[in-house]
């Protein structure tokens, strides 16, 4: 169904302006600018202020959207699925236990090919009971089929949230997107951000055509998601066709994410590396691989290390799903040692999940680069410049052949 962009007027802003806000508010403001149809919310720390901002924006008439205060995250996402199947642009946010409760509709959303955008205010897993940041929730669902994009700064949260809708709704993609912002550090961290002008966002979003592929519309009745598969007949082949299409779209997303970031940069003058950011990687003999807000401290540490003559750089992953294998292989092509810093654990391999994924990239590089897994920042722990100096030192040791046989727990002695 095609729907023209509604007239501006309730929009948050019409010309660029600067404000100071936390990441949760930045996400909410971005959502208002894309003029969603339906929001569904349920509060959970550290996401709560995000949905409070959404509610306020609606209550104040600054955003014209339906807001459904559902009785739990499971219904939150289910309401959005219904709305998206009826052609709506939708958004929600959750984290940790909320995501776990939501899992049943969550892992169904990509299969339904619904372009839902969800902020994942990342939170560590329970138990031990914890309400603080960490990537364990997002990492746990990394095979559910969502696009997952990690932000580094509050500004990036705002801009990425806007871009996420374009990516999700792209005809070659049609997949849900998690915009991941680190619990505590980005959710509550206040920073000065520049708001894009509403007219510019409207133009950037373009003609609305969200639900062109499948719909629950009495004007063109169809069955959505009939039973598919079985042990014989054409069922399993049909199932395979759907799955293959989903995988292809995930790969298409690598291109689309890049194009959307380029377009955004051209229009608004703010550029972010779409898949992988190379920081001071020219002539680097070793690289740190980071994800999310920790990258700020890592960059400060690298700057200092460079000043001290160390040839170290950073490869920051922005797009974690789909995993940018090619971009990473290129970024890491010349290094002799890699230190991967994870904010969650991979229980099965006794290492960080990003580390584990990166091992596949090394295979693509065609040479066994010494690599170490660092795990830090769990349950809200801070990853400071000092921690990264330790990481750099330990990574340098890899160059001499000192490869640890297990993960290095960064905050162990804090």
């Amino acid at each position: 169904m095609t729907m023209a962009v509604r007239e501006a007027g309730t929009a948050a802003a019409t010309r660029p302006r600067h404000i100071v806000c936390e990441g949760n508010e930045a996400a909410a403001l971005a959502v208002a600018m894309v003029r969603p149809d339906m929001l569904s919310v349920y509060p959970i720390t550290p996401q709560s202020s995000l949905v409070e901002h959404l509610a306020k924006l609606c209550a104040d008439g600054r955003m014209d959207a339906e807001i459904v205060d559902a009785e739990g995250e499971h219904s939150v996402l289910s309401v959005l699925q219904g709305a998206a199947l009826a052609g709506g642009r939708t958004f929600t946010a959750t984290c940790g236990p909320g995501l776990a409760f939501m899992f049943e509709p969550y892992w169904r959303t990509p299969g339904l090919r619904l372009p839902i955008v969800m902020a994942l205010v990342t939170r560590d897993g329970i138990t031990p009971q914890s309400v603080w940041g960490g990537h364990q929730d997002a990492m746990t669902v990394r095979e559910a089929g969502w696009i997952q994009i990690y932000c580094e700064t509050v500004q990036e949260v705002l801009d990425t949230t806007i871009m996420a809708f374009r990516i999700a709704e792209h005809r070659d993609v049609m997949l849900p997107v998690n915009v991941c912002l680190d619990g505590n550090y980005l959710s509550y961290g206040a920073a000065r951000v520049t708001l894009p002008d509403q007219a510019g966002v409207d133009a950037f979003m373009g003609e609305r055509n969200i639900n062109w592929h499948a719909a629950l519309d009495p004007l063109r009745p169809m069955a959505v998601d009939p039973l598919t598969g079985g042990s014989g007949g054409k069922g399993p082949a049909a199932f395979l066709r759907y799955r293959k299409g989903q995988c292809r779209s995930m790969q298409n997303a690598l291109r689309v994410i890049t194009e959307v970031h380029d377009e955004y940069a051209a229009r608004f003058g703010r550029a972010f590396a779409p898949l992988v950011e190379r920081y001071r990687m020219d002539d680097a003999e070793m690289a740190l691989v980071t994800l999310g807000s920790m990258t700020g401290a890592a960059k400060d540490a690298v700057d200092e290390a460079r000043a001290a003559g160390r040839r170290v750089g950073i490869v920051k992953i922005k797009t974690f799903s789909p995993f940018p294998v090619e971009a990473l292989a290129q970024a890491l092509a010349g290094v002799g040692a890699i230190g991967v810093v994870d904010r969650s654990v991979g229980f099965r391999w006794n290492c960080g999940p990003v580390f584990q994924e990166l091992l596949g990239v090394l295979y693509r590089l065609g040479r066994p680069v010494p690599t170490a897994s660092f795990i830090g920042g769990l349950a809200g722990a801070d990853l400071t410049v000092e921690h990264f100096h330790a990481v750099i030192a330990r990574t340098a040791a890899l160059l001499g052949g000192d490869v640890p046989d297990g993960p290095i727990w960064v905050n162990e002695n804090d």
Binding site: D37, E71, G72, S75, V79, A83, L85, P105, P218, T228
Partner: protein, 454 residues
């Protein structure tokens, strides 16, 4: 063809032989108080029981009157073309001008439906008083009823069946009946959710790219039907389109794992028509227990063993819980009472345009409850006649009202013995169920009395 008509039904057990009906008929039709001229004859039964009268125990009173046959023999034998079936009303009419008084119709009819009026010797028969039978109005005991359900079937016959033919339900399945009737009534501007269970199991959402439904239909999760529909409905409302968001769900999904989303949607007043087909268990997956399964019932997870015999807890009263949500409309229904069901469907559709409408249809399951396939409606009726199932409706404005009160309910054992899932019950268990029926009746009566007192 395919037309159904109103009829006059006679329940011999209620008749006390007062003959008010005959007086009313004689007055209405002949302006006379001579009851021998009435076109229905209530006769005190005087013949003994037993052979050769193989009809079983005699009722106290018998009735002779025209049945307004579908294939009337009186018409077939009339040489004058004086008798005809009125296609609109179904009444067999006689044209007094062309009738030649040959009496052949009286030998054609096997029901004593047409006979000479003793006053003039010309044949006369019941003409249903133009749709308002005087006899029924005069009957003080309710033994005579004017059954007008046919109107619904005729109307329904004109609506499109929005399910494809060939849904693969079990033989004699009541759910298919409920689904087809309900969706026909609701109409094509509908988005239908059928969570996993018998309804999609018989192919309504379809298999491998084929669909069984002519309106947009989807499988929600077992757990999120109400929430997904809420999203669909709100989005359409937002863009100014009036659709009916309808669920046809099973009792298991609704009362157990899907109850949270149901409760949430009801509390928020989502504009949904939520129809539960209560076959008292997870029948599609092999007849496991749900919280709507009644006490004592065999299911594949409450087997009959040495230690326990069937389910050891009472059923959750889901419709009453929905009353607790103060939904815009809540009602229970049964396919043995289609007119009642249709009335409630109409109200539920209307309510779903401004709030949450909940319809709970009791649906005997031939396969899971273990009774012969042709007994479905009889079992459904017995459930109501024993008060095992009570038919009522609720709105926040008018409270709860019984729509088909049973004045002298039959013992619940009559219901229990109609099916295999209760075959093992001990007398104690039957006593427990009877007591629960009484308790439930008292609870409902109390709520209804509260409503009446307002």
């Amino acid at each position: 063809m395919g037309h159904a008509y109103a009829t006059i039904a006679f329940e011999a057990a209620r008749c006390d032989g007062c003959q008010d009906c005959m007086r009313a008929c004689a007055t209405a039709k002949c302006g006379s108080d001579d009851i021998s001229r009435a076109r229905l004859q209530v006769l005190p039964a005087v013949l003994p029981a037993g052979q050769p009268l193989d009809g079983g125990a005699p009722a106290s009173f018998e009735l002779a009157m025209c049945r307004q046959c579908g294939d009337p023999r009186c018409v077939a034998v009339c040489p004058a073309g004086a008798l005809a079936k009125d296609v609109e009303t179904g009444v067999i009419t006689r044209n007094a001008d062309t009738c030649v008084d040959c009496l052949l119709c009286t030998v054609g009819c096997a029901y004593a439906g047409i006979a000479p009026d003793p006053a003039d010797g010309r044949v006369a028969k019941c003409d249903m008083c133009d749709g308002a039978p005087a006899c029924v109005a005069a009957c003080p005991t309710g033994a005579l009823r004017h059954v007008t359900t046919a109107r619904i079937y005729n109307e329904v016959g004109d609506w499109e069946d929005l399910f494809a033919p060939g849904l693969a339900g079990c033989q004699g399945c009541n759910s298919e009946l409920v689904m087809r009737h309900a969706l026909r009534r609701v109409g094509p501007d509908t988005v239908l959710a059928t969570p996993p269970g018998c309804v999609p199991g018989m192919g309504s959402v379809g298999y491998n790219g084929l669909t069984g439904t002519k309106v947009p239909v989807f499988h929600p999760l077992l757990t999120n039907t109400a929430a997904m529909l809420a999203g669909v409905k709100r989005q359409y409302k937002r863009v100014g389109r009036d659709i009916t968001a309808m669920a046809i769900a099973g009792d298991g999904g609704a009362s157990d794992v899907g109850f949270q989303s149901l409760s949430g949607a009801a509390e928020r007043g989502e504009e949904i028509l939520f129809l539960v087909i209560d076959n008292e268990g997870y029948m599609n997956t092999g007849m496991q227990r749900s919280s709507c399964t009644p006490y004592g019932a065999w299911t594949s997870t409450t087997p009959v063993g040495r230690e326990t015999k069937g389910k050891s807890q009472d059923a959750k009263n889901l419709p009453l819980l929905m009353v607790g949500h103060r939904c815009a409309y809540v009602a229970t229904a049964s396919t043995a009472f289609m007119q009642d069901f249709y009335d409630k469907l109409d109200k539920a559709i209307a309510a779903s345009k401004h709030g949450f409408a909940y319809l709970h249809v009791y649906s005997p399951c031939t396969t899971g409850w273990r009774f012969p396939t042709e007994r479905n409606i009889a079992v459904a009726r017995t459930a109501v006649e024993t008060n095992f199932v009570m038919l009522w409706e609720f709105t926040p404005q008018d409270g709860l009202h019984l729509t088909h009160p049973i004045e002298s309910p039959r013992p619940v054992a009559d219901y229990l013995k109609a099916m295999g899932r209760f075959r093992h019950l001990t007398d104690d268990q039957i006593g427990h169920i009877q007591a629960k029926v009484e308790e439930n009746r008292a609870v409902i009566a109390q709520i209804a009395a509260g409503a009446a007192a307002r």
